[in-house]
Symmetry: C2
Subunit: 147 residues, 2 copies
Amino acid sequence: MDRKLLHELIEDYTSAMNEVNRRISAIMNDRVHEELTGDQFLTMRYIQKNEPCTSSDIANEFGIVKSAVTAQVNRLYEKGLIERDRDSDDRRIVYLRLTTEGKTLMKEGTDKLYEVLGEILSNFDKEEMTFFIWQLQKLARILKENG
Amino acid sequence: MDRKLLHELIEDYTSAMNEVNRRISAIMNDRVHEELTGDQFLTMRYIQKNEPCTSSDIANEFGIVKSAVTAQVNRLYEKGLIERDRDSDDRRIVYLRLTTEGKTLMKEGTDKLYEVLGEILSNFDKEEMTFFIWQLQKLARILKENG
DNA sequence: TTTAAATAGTTCTATTGTAGAACTATTCAC
DNA sequence: GTGAATAGTTCTACAATAGAACTATTTAAA
């Protein structure tokens, strides 16, 4: 491909992607997870979907070091949203689960997420959206291979 | 559209988008802006493209408060990458510009960005990429209206 | 023309997210 | 049984951010 065109596409891609990320995170903050930060919501969602999971799982999923996870998990623990208990066979391992409060909060958050994103995505028809997601997944796969 | 299908699409969209963002930022960190954080690189790029600009411009562009910009700009200033000077007509306004060092660094960073993203995007053909970017821009526009 | 409101930016404080090194406790492998 | 590997925590340092209080300056209104 022509060099100049490629550079223009890269500029367009990065600027659109940055704008989407900024606006999504602003909307999520305002309307989806009032009581949590964006990162906390993502961590809670991960635990919700992968219960029970460990700090190492989270560190691996989000590409951050384990001490960063400890700090985050401590904050969620202090809010009473998650519980920790040690594996009885291998006492190094600490399993993380949502508490009843955590589950309630995430149920509400997920409902709002579906409502808010559903409203936004209703501007795309099914084929358009499917193709867009398929492209995103392809990009994710390529990035995984190139990382 | 069917409710369950929409929810699945939302799950696929959010998980692909999050993975893309994580991997892009990891790659950028490793190969594009070694001496800067991701946020600093974005701020420097904004100044590079909009020289001279103000702290308020940056706050507006990235949706953050002005005190956050002051903190960021201070760090870049201390690295010798940007310079500030007051408008002589309206002495409240401080214009930001890249220093020679800042320009050199951003020239290198931009070259690396083109190289790295060019390599990744070469896995898409021109029509595919154009359509994908067009969809991203459409999403950005809708988010802007819905925000 | 003086005074009040608006604007641009900074300072200060507090919280969150992060990396990295040193550490504890536990399990595994030889 | 001892040394290596693993899971997680603690501690320190820094970046990013919000929000309130502040300074300096300009604009608008009385």
